[in-house]
């Protein structure tokens, strides 16, 4: 089964680039920037509270909302509509993220550059990868170099220093930390208690497991498992110099199949290259077979159940409902900070969702015109409904705001999902329409690029 999952993963990586880079003369981010926002496959997000049979708390939903809000950041990021979740898509990473001048390869970028915060610019070409936040509560210290023991401090640093955001209120930082703490690893049926392989794993991976714990020939105190401690989420919470240009913390191997590229700067695309690196560094003299066994082991450890999910009307609406749910508590509490954050962020998400249903002016799509028209109108009504919530709250009319929010809940419970699902086959969620849409756009932009060279 894990082979099927791996094959699926490799197939996704090998797919022709469907992502659509930024073009034009007036964009906020440099032309050629790639946020991969049009991907139809999204990392699946698993929440600890739900996995245990509970439900996400108000704080988790508020943190998730703030995590998806461009207004939490500042400067270029905010102008470009970027939020924490632009890089950490559904709490995972974004291997296609690329900004010309800041990235040396897809999946990494310089976090201390003039583009996002001139005050933090250290003029170093020091790109780092975007880490997945799955299981982050087990993975202190934070930052690739492990410079911060507190996740709260780290979140604050990312917002204020890396992305020039305004000083966040304590409740927002707290909520983001609670949200990150709730993001779980994807379950991995190949791993049992203590990080040991289960019975369903094949021989090569078992031989790899033996090699993983075997003392190194030149230093019996060292082994792969000495740093990547299997019983402790495959980390040791320490920084080491492994010949990659300084001290970096031991990364977890859990769900790492979905975290390429590897090393702090993303220099390696595959486990094969990583194993080669350590073979060379520690003089392990591994045979080709040994290396293949270690790779098989890493693939078993790094696996996860159902790593991706298809984007569509239902997952989008579920997320929007979760975000908007904070209004249920914030309105009676007269918390205008959270009300405005929710109205801004959910309104933005609703406007983005509207664009998944091409307007009558899009001559590239002909099917489902009436359905798309109704879907777009339903979403615009929701945007205005939320704006009324904010206007009423800003005017101190919280009962009116509560009534508008009840109206929002009613619309999102039945009428809107039906309208959107009716239009989904003629939307950009349909792979054929999606690919045709971006192919047509790409054709226009490539013609422009060719002539400007």
């Amino acid at each position: 089964m894990w082979k099927a999952a791996l094959a699926c993963w490799l197939a996704i990586l090998a797919m022709p680039a469907t992502a659509f880079p930024i073009h034009g003369s007036q964009t906020v981010l440099p032309v050629g920037s790639e946020l991969n926002e049009d991907a139809l496959e999204r990392p699946r997000e698993v929440f600890r509270s739900e996995a245990l049979g509970g439900r996400k708390s108000y704080l988790v939903n508020l943190g998730d909302l703030a995590f998806s809000s461009p207004t939490v950041l500042g400067g270029t990021a905010r102008q470009a509509g970027m939020s924490c979740s632009t890089c950490h898509v559904n709490g995972a990473s974004n291997p296609r993220f690329y900004i010309p001048g800041l990235s040396t390869r897809p999946g990494n970028f310089i976090t201390t550059s003039a583009l996002f915060n001139a005050k933090a610019n250290n003029r170093l070409l020091d790109p780092v990868t975007i880490p997945s936040l799955r299981g982050a509560r087990f993975l202190a210290p934070y930052g690739h170099d492990g410079r911060m023991t507190s996740l709260r401090d780290f979140v604050h640093n990312v917002i204020v220093n890396e992305f020039a955001g305004p000083e966040p209120s304590p409740q927002i930082v707290d909520a983001i930390v609670v949200y990150i703490h709730d993001i779980d690893f994807l379950p991995n049926p190949r791993l049992g208690p203590g990080g040991r392989l289960t019975a369903q794993v094949g021989e090569p991976a078992r031989r790899g497991e033996a090699l993983f714990v075997k003392p190194f020939p030149h230093d019996a105190g060292l082994s792969c498992a000495a740093c990547h401690v299997p019983s402790a989420a495959f980390v040791d919470h320490l920084q080491h110099d492994v010949g990659s240009g300084g001290f970096f913390k031991t990364p977890t191997l859990l769900n790492a199949n979905f975290n390429a590229p590897y090393f702090h700067d993303g220099r390696y695309d595959t486990y094969d290259r990583v194993v080669e690196h350590f073979d060379h560094l520690f003089g392990l003299s591994l045979s080709g077979g040994d290396q293949a066994d270690l790779v098989a082991y890493l693939k078993a450890v790094g696996d996860g159940r159902q790593p991706y999910e298809r984007d569509g009307v239902l997952p989008r609406l579920a997320e929007i409902m979760d975000f908007a749910s904070v209004l249920g508590a914030a309105i009676p509490a007269q918390d205008t900070e959270v009300i405005t954050l929710a109205v801004d962020t959910v309104g933005g998400e609703l406007r983005e969702l509207t664009e998944e249903f091409p307007s009558p002016k899009d001559t590239n799509v002909s099917a489902g015109r009436e359905e798309r028209r109704l879907a777009r109108a339903a979403l615009k009504d929701l945007v205005l409904c939320l704006r009324r919530v904010d206007l009423a709250a800003a005017g101190g009319r919280f009962d009116e705001a509560a009534d508008e929010y009840i109206n929002f809940r009613k619309l999102t419970a039945a009428a809107v999902p039906v309208a959107l699902q009716n239009a989904e086959p003629s939307s950009l969620f349909d792979p054929v329409i999606h690919d045709a849409h971006y192919a047509a756009l790409r054709q226009i932009y490539e013609a422009a690029d060719r002539s400007s060279r």
Binding site: I22, G24, Q26, T71, P360, A377, D381, L441
Partner: protein
């Protein structure tokens, strides 16, 4: 004569009835202050169907000359562009395209009512025809092989010009058009906006807001003023706020969050004004009929 009233809220629209009930409440709340003026409005609402006051439709008629003027200006621009294309002058063709856009964007309050023509003239983003197809070639690629597209655009703008002469203007149609255009102004432009090859997205938005300003002043301002002076002032204030926000030097500096909020507030103000004027709440639905 065709009636441009297709954007009245569809019968199946969710919550439409609730909103109408709510609007009635709003009206009732103001009765004490504006009783004499509201008698007519309340009578219309009580009759079960909001009907436009004839006077307001007369006011809508006053908008026709401006619309004709803007369309003529657009048409003249496209004709000049075609001449420049034939003369092989890329610079002149680009300049003429920009002139042609001004009139078009200002008339959008009205032109969005002609779905099929709108689609031919202003197709977006994958445009095979119209302004943006020409823009991609002329500005994006510096190419002059746009004669067939220019001919088609002249044909469709001429058609639009004729329709403007023959179509009865209604206050409802113009309010719907204004609400839809206000919503469009609030859309994210972080990716370069509508006219990303010519770099005139910001001008598009400014001209859209100028169009909103014109239609409000010419058609609705005095009627709203007479019924709710504060609301009229709020609408003028929000339009002014949009204009101020759009005074940034480059698109990348636009405060899109505030712009979006203001655009949505403007629509809500239009929706509040509608029942006071005997109109239905403006709908944001894209039209299908012409």
């Amino acid at each position: 004569m065709k009636h441009l009233n297709g954007s009245v809220a569809a019968a199946g629209e969710p919550a439409a009835s609730r909103h109408v009930a709510e609007d009635v409440d709003v009206v009732r709340g103001r009765v004490a202050r504006f009783l004499p003026r509201l008698v007519l409005v309340c009578t219309v609402l009580a009759a079960g169907a909001a009907r436009t006051e004839p006077l307001l439709d007369d006011a809508a008629e006053r908008y026709r000359p401006l619309m004709a003027e803007e369309t003529d200006r657009s048409l003249a621009g496209v004709r000049a562009m075609r001449e420049a294309v034939l003369a092989g002058d890329v610079d002149a063709a680009q300049k003429a395209w920009i002139v042609a856009r001004v009139g078009w964007e200002r008339a959008e309050v009205f032109t969005s009512g002609f779905t099929e023509l709108d689609r031919e003239i202003d197709a977006w983003p994958n445009a095979a025809t119209g302004f943006h197809a020409i823009e991609a070639k002329l500005f994006g690629a510096g190419r002059l092989d746009v004669r067939p597209e220019a001919d088609a655009l002249i044909f469709h703008l001429t058609d639009l010009r004729a329709k403007i002469r023959d179509t009865r203007l209604t206050a409802q149609g113009l309010l719907d058009g204004a609400a839809k255009l206000a919503y469009e102004v609030g859309e994210s432009k972080a990716d370069g906006g509508e006219s990303r090859f010519s770099g005139t997205s910001l001008d598009d938005m400014r001209n859209n807001v100028d169009g909103l300003d014109s239609v409000f002043r010419i058609v609705f301002a005095s009627a709203v003023e007479a019924r709710d002076a504060k609301l009229a002032e709020a609408i003028r204030g929000t339009i002014g706020q949009l204009q101020t926000l759009l005074q940034v030097p480059v698109l990348a500096r636009l405060d899109s969050r505030t712009l979006r909020a203001a655009s949505e507030e403007l629509i809500i103000a239009f929706q509040t004004a509608a029942p006071l004027l005997g109109l239905q709440r403006p709908s944001l639905q894209d039209l299908v009929q012409q």
